[in-house]
Symmetry: none
Subunit: 190 residues, 4 copies
């Protein structure tokens, strides 16, 4: 008997990301996905109930991975500025290093597969960032604007940078990353 291969799920995820980056969400055809993941079409359905299930599980997996990555080394008790810089740098690096994931996450939001419960769970993962900014406001370091707005500037900036970088419009050197950090901080600082 062939043992169930947990790597198969990962192989499907990887292939799906590749296809979505290359051809967009519309390029995710189950038969092509199977070919890309080097298996038969039916095999995908041993690991995922449907295309919808595949996309939603891919989404939450990426969101979790992303959150884990940008919160790496984050200590809520460390000074505010330290936390802000760490998360910002992690977040930018994570996004630059995984442009397919960013492409997917962006498109999921507008897709017919969007699942409210999945979305809600994903929102929880970003909570620490909201808390950090609120603390920043209390410590008089951050502008007295709605937290959503502050987050909007930070994430919007990273999203735009990632897209720019992925399309070859800008190579992100260390110097540029520092410039971006300065811009991000200047935008939200008091």
């Amino acid at each position: 008997m062939r043992n169930i291969d947990t790597d198969k799920e990962q192989a499907i995820f990887q292939a799906a990301l590749r296809l979505i980056q290359q051809e967009g969400f519309a390029g995710l055809k189950m038969s092509i996905l199977a070919k890309e993941a080097q298996m038969a079409a039916g095999t995908i359905y041993l690991y995922f109930k449907s295309k919808e299930d595949l996309i939603n599980r891919l989404y939450i997996t990426l969101k979790r991975r992303s959150a884990k990555s940008f919160l790496k080394g984050y200590d809520p008790k460390a000074p505010f500025m330290e936390g802000f810089e760490l998360i910002w740098q992690n977040f930018l690096d994570t996004n630059l290093a995984n442009p397919e994931e960013s492409a997917f996450l962006e498109q999921y939001y507008r897709s017919p597969y969007l699942d409210k419960t999945v979305q809600d769970e994903a929102d929880q993962l970003v909570a620490p960032v909201f808390e950090l900014l609120e603390r920043g406001k209390r410590e008089r370091l951050v502008k007295e604007a709605p937290t959503e707005m502050l987050v909007a500037q930070l994430t919007g900036f990273v999203a735009a940078l990632t897209q720019l970088h992925a399309s070859g419009g800008l190579t992100m050197t260390a110097a540029f990353k520092n410039a971006a950090l300065a811009m991000a901080w200047d935008g939200v600082k008091r």
Copy 2:
């Protein structure tokens, strides 16, 4: 003088935007579009060669309309700060007022319909913004960062705000708009 053809084209464009906002890009089925635009499916093909043609022409139309809107009243010879504030405010207002267009533009970029020549023409329309920011750098008002990066922060912020606003996450009062302007300016100013 009414141009009958152009009226139909506009009806199709409007219906398409409505459907895309409601159901996403995937919700744009030609037969449903025809119903929404109150005509027969075949009629669409009298005005557009194909779905691809329809989407690309919708894209460039929206881009032109958007550029015209956010450059309204803009005088390249006026002081930098005046121009910056004008464009920013126009841009934010335009996006907030037309969330369907923003939704469409965002998705077009990742769709299989994306056409390089169309995209290039669209990029030309934003040139004045690049020129303004470069002038800002020369006048020592704006940070010495790559213009693409500066633009990324500004447009990324607006895109995120628009999405937030459209999803009901934040009501944009005049005070909030001023706060956003301040944040945007602080991000790029020297």
Copy 3:
């Protein structure tokens, strides 16, 4: 513009019956059905929402046609014996003349497409037969057995005869039909 062709529905019904008789319920593949009905696969879906819809509407159509056929000329006020003979003869003739319909009706009952509401409506159509037999019991002409049992013998007999005839096991001459009528009547008569 091509006008909607109500004959198309009939063509689909006829083709479906032919296929079901030839290959059984399992032989009803939508693509083969389209070929048999001389149209494209998609066309079927202009007239029927789904395969399930097609089968249920075919069922109720056949049931109505069958009821209309075996009640043809039936007068509830005529003497019992006259009504019994008329219905029996009509019923046998109808079944012998339309073996595909009998084959279909038989298989529908055991299929996953069976719909309770449709089935209920169909049962209503046989009501006159139940009423006739009950009247027969009141007039002391028919056995004092449950009406369901009386009907079971009559319909079971016809079903078996139809199958026999369709498979070539017995050619139904006028003499044989008379013999069958005598057997049917002897079975239920007092």
Copy 4:
């Protein structure tokens, strides 16, 4: 002495009958069958060459079991009436007690699995009934109708009664069984 192989075969047969009764012929999926029979899907293929083979062997097995059951205690040399009553009662009881088998036999006939040789062998098993009725005709006890027609009435009646009983439409008491015997006999008697 337990024959392991035959045990598995029986388990598969039982499970198949259960599934067919519950969901109809279309409900017989090999993987579900395996689960119902508490074994792996591949195991079924150690005992049956294919689904077709499984169904045909199930058919002939049931037919043999049925024939053995309704001929139990039958003595071709006993008086006609005794034989007729015995077989009729056995046949009705057998069918009422095994509605899944009846459901299966009915559907097999219309299925794409029907195999002529298997069918022929099955027909042999009913030969004693034909012989009995022919003897009845010679003894002037039974109507001078084609034997196939006589059999049609008897088996059609039992099939209809079984279905009625299985669907809950009629509870078969001893009195009702006697009434059925009377009806059956009246139908064929001279």
